[in-house]
């Protein structure tokens, strides 16, 4: 039910944007889709240049392509990085330079039926929003693609700052230091502590999972799975 509501809201939203879109599209009647229906219409050329700062064009143009709306129209890069995609009917297209090494942001190009061009930022959510880009296109690479995750390298600082380790070390410190700071043999102090513990455990909604965990930990005596955390927790209970 929830999803239907959200969907209809999305539709409403899309609908609202369409009104704006149609304001723009009325000056370009055969936009986008009517490609197959009007094969004899005028064809235009999308031009531009792709730049990878600091890298010679010869090193990357051979693996690059210009894709207009998926693979609907395909262009290739010249040896100087410039490109032209021929035979594009009027409409609105997302133009993308793809290479396996460098990343380029896509640009939306609108072509009116008279051949007037303009380029703007791609925004799939607000499709009618116009943030102008230069035309002929100047597409600058935003850097190389990052395909790989970083391996977790191991260092002492990482080890010590690891939350699990912190979790192990801090209670240990408390166990070692607390008896020295407060005298646990004092009955008043003990009462106070118990009260504060009850305060902490005030939420009755959640404990089923956590209880399960503690049961699991304390129940599996000597099992290696429980690990060091259970050990420390057991020491806590024993101490009290």
């Amino acid at each position: 039910m929830l999803s239907r509501g959200s969907l209809s809201r999305l539709w409403l939203f899309v609908h609202a944007t369409f009104v704006v879109v149609s304001c723009f599209t009325d000056m370009e009647p055969g936009s986008g889709v009517g490609v197959s229906s009007q094969p004899n219409g005028d064809r235009f050329k999308i031009e531009g240049r792709a730049i990878v700062p600091g890298v010679k064009t010869h090193d990357w143009v051979s693996s690059a392509r210009v894709l207009v709306e998926g693979e609907e129209h395909v262009g290739f890069l010249r040896t100087d990085g410039s490109f032209a995609v021929n035979d594009v009917p009027s409409g609105s297209y997302v133009v993308e330079v793809v290479t396996p090494t460098y990343r380029f942001e896509p640009v939306r190009v609108d072509i009116t039926s008279k051949g007037k061009m303009r380029a703007r930022l791609v925004n799939y959510i607000k499709t009618s929003e116009v943030i102008r880009q230069p035309y002929p296109l100047q597409i600058r690479s935003v850097g190389p693609h990052s395909y790989f995750m970083k391996r977790e390298t191991w260092g002492w600082t990482d080890f010590l700052m690891n939350p699990m380790v912190m979790m192990m070390v801090l209670p240990l410190l408390i166990i070692v230091l607390l008896p020295k700071v407060v005298n646990t043999n004092d009955p008043e102090m003990r009462k106070e502590m118990e009260q504060s513990m009850n305060m902490l455990n005030s939420n009755p909604e959640l404990p089923d999972v956590s209880e399960l965990m503690t049961k699991l930990f304390s129940g599996s005596k000597g099992s290696s799975k429980a690990g060091s955390s259970s050990k420390s927790s057991r020491t806590v209970t024993k101490r009290r």
Binding site: V14, V61, R78, F148
Partner: protein, 952 residues
């Protein structure tokens, strides 16, 4: 105790956090090439050109029928660069002309001229030509330099500069309504000749001046026998047009006999466009008969008669021109020899042996690379193209430098088959099979099999030791069919690929090596293929068996090819002849006594035949006939109908759904994969109740598209139909949307992708089906007894790219979370967690949704390059993604095929069942040792302390 509780809570929170952060399927940099490989192809070669402008050049240019233009390294056969154009006639390569560093392509029926710098692989220029269908193109040289090229179209001829593509002149062809201009020629004398023919009447030659395009001469020659210039005429010597007259009389006067029923053809050679062609030319008179002729003062002299000769081809090195002739030697080999073009004399020590693959096709084309040796004699290498699209590059005296199986650029369907067990493993397995033996013999058998295993293990250790002493480069991975065996986790499998050309391949999934190939001849051009695994390797004494159904799409007539998927050999089992057109084929889970699954074939009379059709099978079929249902779809009439099998193997129609063809058409029907497992029956909600999934194995997702393509009225529809009862479970319509629609149907969900015409973007939509909070019948699912309609949830998302294909990951038991593998036009394969396509993603986060780990709804799905499973190894034109489970639950094997083939492993929930390959053994062992010593020391210290206390 409360402290422990608090800690447990903290751990839980942390686990949650870790789960959310790390649930990405990314590749680590050191894993590159470890589990994955890619093979890049070009397609069936149409034009090839050896780059000869530099002596040391090792490039060969290839233009293929798949609209790909590439440069290969002749030493290794690998790609230097490759440019993939649009598919279809718009990207079709009509001609390839090369001069120096530039290669010019005529593309799309003469629509575009494109010039490439072959050194860099970048484009020099691109020119749009005037409309008109393309006829011919040639380079035009003048005074020893080539600066222009001429393009002949049906009505115009134009001349372009090679340097920038600009038009020098364009002229209309005279009388182009009657004269069919077919060829253009230039002999380097400042003139361009356009050759045309009026069929069965005369030949027209128009001569243009190179400078301004003026017609300097117009000749008409009576030639009532001529119909096509490129087929029967060619220019030789100084502008002499030689034509073949089909009536054979002039040929006979030369004393030449043409093989009956063969169309002779002429081949001339022009080494340099700035000079006229040679006066020698080749004439093919029969399938195995070639002649080298020479024109000399108006006389035609036979220099050499090659018979038998399969192929002959010219090549030039420096000033010398040679003819390479391939002659059949015996059944398995051909010999290639070089002859001097001027004299026709055989050159010494130029024999080269080409071994014909018995599982391949016949040689079809000979591409010769000739070069001058140090002693000024001519050396050569050849690239032989065979019928099965294979390229073999051979050096003297017959060493194969490389082979490229270009048929693999067009994989149609594939399967992955488990490798067989080794002898020892099979022995062990066989032990559990029989139980009739006595105790003593069982013990003996066990001991003997243990011995065999020990022996194998020692042999393995010895091999490891032996290999370790040798340098790394010498250790060959000697994968061959004989020593292939299943690995521990069944990660290595045999990939059986079926290509459109009819060539079958068996590829080792670990290395990508082609282990066997088999070329099926006489495959119809528009054949549809369906590959089925009838028997796996699990039934040891019986060999595994695959069946390929080849169906001619026009006539519907089908043939079966039964083979062993491990060795590629045709099986001894003779498949039944199928005289009737086949409508549908189904692989039943029933097995015959030899453990082969039963294949049912439905013909156009709605009669069913079984393969294998032994008595045992027929009996089983009779017993289970009442529970065998199947469906037929006729997209032409928009009819979907369900049938039931009767005991006498006839059929009975149970249901029919008609989709009106005037408004919409059926584009695809997707059922669920039969080898898919679903582990959990339901989903645990935030409040600890269970939402049960609607897991109907008979559910079909039918996709329809509207026939009206107007952007305001077009729509796509999704119908979920039960395949047994014909009941429509759900229907969804997406207005203002059009295809192509990509669908994935699995578990209890359907994901589809379409183009939204209103917002001009690609959108994903997901439908999930749930039974509700309680299950009707939890033990077994029956389509006939499911009274409640499922709850349907749907949500849509924006996707920032168009897609090429889509598939879901598949694992052994279905415990691992699912990912969608999306092939993008950029060549990346995106692994998108199904978690993002969940209709229960909330708009407003509540405590319960957080408890369930639902991601809050966001309209746009994001493409992260870290999620590309193939990092920078892009796969061009992905047509299909095949997923197969491995023996490890966490691991799914993926093959993406298109122009390239890519194989890798994916771990949708990370590797939870096996130690990761970066597992830090050093750390764990050092920590263990440290702890061990720490306990030793602390024990000692404690003892000392106790002693001290006791003394006190």
């Amino acid at each position: 105790k409360s402290k422990a509780v608090a800690m447990a809570k903290l751990i839980l929170l942390l686990l949650n956090w870790i789960f959310l952060c790390c649930n990405v399927a990314a590749v680590f940099e050191d894993q590159v090439g470890k589990f994955d490989w890619r093979q890049q192809y070009v397609g069936k070669v149409r034009f090839s050109h050896f780059d000869s402008h530099m002596q040391s050049s090792k490039k060969v240019l290839l233009a293929s029928e798949s609209n790909v233009f590439a440069a290969l390294n002749t030493r290794t056969g690998e790609l230097f660069w490759r440019h993939v154009d649009k598919t279809g006639p718009e990207g079709n390569i009509d001609a390839l002309l090369q001069h120096g560093q530039d290669a010019v392509l005529v593309i799309g029926n003469g629509h575009l001229l494109r010039s490439w710098d072959i050194g860099v692989g970048g484009m020099n220029w691109e020119m749009v030509l005037d409309p008109g269908s393309f006829r011919s193109a040639c380079l035009v040289g003048h005074q020893g330099a080539v600066k222009h090229l001429a393009v002949l179209k049906k009505t115009v001829i134009s001349l372009h500069y090679l340097s920038n593509g600009h038009q020098k002149w364009v002229e209309n062809l005279p009388e182009s309504e009657t004269v069919d201009f077919q060829a253009v020629y230039s002999g380097g004398n400042g003139e361009v000749y356009a050759l045309g023919v009026v069929p069965n009447s005369h030949l027209a030659i128009v001569v243009y001046s190179l400078e301004d395009g003026e017609i300097t001469k117009q000749v008409s020659v009576e030639a009532p026998w001529l119909s096509s210039i490129p087929a029967s005429c060619s220019v030789i010597s100084r502008g002499l047009l030689t034509c073949l007259e089909m009536t054979q009389i002039p040929l006979q006067t030369l004393g030449l006999d043409v093989d009956p029923g063969f169309r002779p053809s002429l081949v001339s050679h022009q080494p340099n466009p700035a000079h006229p062609p040679l006066s020698e030319f080749l004439l093919q008179l029969g399938p195995e008969h070639h002649l080298l002729l020479q024109h000399n003062d108006g006389q035609i002299v036979t220099l050499r008669d090659y018979k038998p000769a399969l192929l002959a081809s010219f090549a030039t090195a420096g000033e010398k021109t040679v003819v390479a002739v391939m002659a059949p030697k015996n059944k398995t080999a051909c010999s290639i020899n070089l002859f001097s073009a001027e004299t026709g004399r055989r050159l010494l020590e130029t024999t080269l042996i080409f071994t014909v693959d018995p599982n391949g096709g016949k040689p079809e084309k000979l591409h010769v690379q000739a070069f001058l040796k140090k002693d000024d004699s001519v050396g050569y290498r050849v690239m032989v193209q065979t019928e099965d699209h294979t390229l073999t590059f051979i050096q003297q005296p017959g060493r194969v430098m490389w082979t490229r199986e270009e048929a693999l650029s067009d994989v149609v369907t594939m399967e992955m088959v488990d490798l067989p067990l080794t002898g020892a493993q099979a022995e062990l397995e066989g032990e559990f099979g029989k139980k009739a033996d006595g105790l003593m013999s069982m013990v003996m058998k066990r001991l003997s099999s243990q011995l065999i295993m020990l022996q194998a293990w020692i042999a393995h250790l010895w091999k490891l030791f032996y290999d370790a002493r040798k340098p790394r480069s010498q250790v060959k991975n000697d994968v061959s069919i004989e020593n292939l065996s299943r690995d521990e986790f069944n990660l290595q499998k045999m990939m059986v690929l079926v290509t459109a050309s009819g060539k079958l391949f068996g590829i080792d999934s670990k290395t990508g090596d082609i282990l066997w190939k088999h070329y099926l001849e006489n495959i119809p051009l528009n054949a549809a293929f369906k590959l089925m695994v009838q028997r796996t390797t699990a039934h040891f004494p019986h060999p595994p068996q695959c069946t390929l159904l080849i169906k001619d799409k026009d006539t519907g007539l089908a043939t079966l090819h039964v083979f062993n998927p491990i060795f590629g050999r045709r099986s001894q089992v003779t498949p039944p002849a199928l005289p009737q057109p086949i409508l549908q084929s189904l692989l039943l889970p029933l097995m015959d006594q030899d453990y082969a699954k039963v294949l049912l074939l439905v013909d156009d009379q709605y009669k069913v035949s079984a393969f294998p059709s032994t008595k045992n099978v027929l009996q089983q079929l009779q017993e289970t006939a009442s529970s065998i249902f199947f469906y037929l779809a006729d997209s032409g009439q928009g009819r979907l109908s369900g049938y039931r099998l009767r005991t006498d193997l006839s059929t009975e129609q149970v249901w029919e759904v008609v989709i009106p063809t005037e408004t919409q058409k059926i584009v695809s029907i997707k059922g669920k994969r039969s080898n898919e497992h679903v582990h959990s029956q339901g989903r645990v909600m935030g409040d600890r109740s269970v939402l049960y999934k609607y897991l109907n194995p008979n559910l079909l997702a039918v996709v329809t598209e509207s026939t009206d393509l107007h952007q305001e009225r077009s729509f796509i529809g999704i119908l979920l139909i039960d395949g047994v009862t014909g009941r429509i479970i759900h229907e969804a319509v997406q207005r203002k949307a059009r295809g192509p629609v990509h669908v994935v149907h699995s578990e209890n969900w359907v994901v589809y992708e379409y183009w939204s015409t209103k917002s001009r973007r690609n959108e994903f939509s997901v439908i999930e089906l749930y039974e509700g909070m309680d299950l009707y019948n939890s033990t077994v699912f029956s389509s006939l007894d499911r009274p409640h309609a499922p709850q349907v949830l749907q949500q849509s998302y924006i996707f920032p790219s168009s897609i090429s294909t889509m598939e879901a990951t598949l694992t052994e038991k279905g415990i691992t979370s699912r990912h969608l593998l999306v092939g993008l036009p950029s060549g990346g394969i995106l692994s998108l967690p199904k978690m993002f396509l969940d209709p229960r993603r909330p708009e407003v986060i509540s405590e319960q949704s957080r408890e369930e780990n639902l991601i809050p709804y966001a309209p746009e799905l994001i493409i992260r390059t870290e999620w590309f499973i193939n990092y920078n190894q892009t796969v061009s034109r992905v047509r299909g993604i095949y997923t197969a489970p491995s023996g490890l639950e966490s691991t799914c094997l993926v093959v993406a095929y298109g122009l390239d083939i890519y194989h890798t492993r994916v771990y949708p929930s990370k590797q939870f069942d096996v130690l990761k390959d970066d597992y830090d053994y050093m750390l764990i062992s050092s920590v263990l040792f440290a702890l061990f010593f720490a306990t030793m020391i602390s024990k000692r210290l404690a003892e000392v302390k106790l002693l001290n206390r006791a003394w006190r």
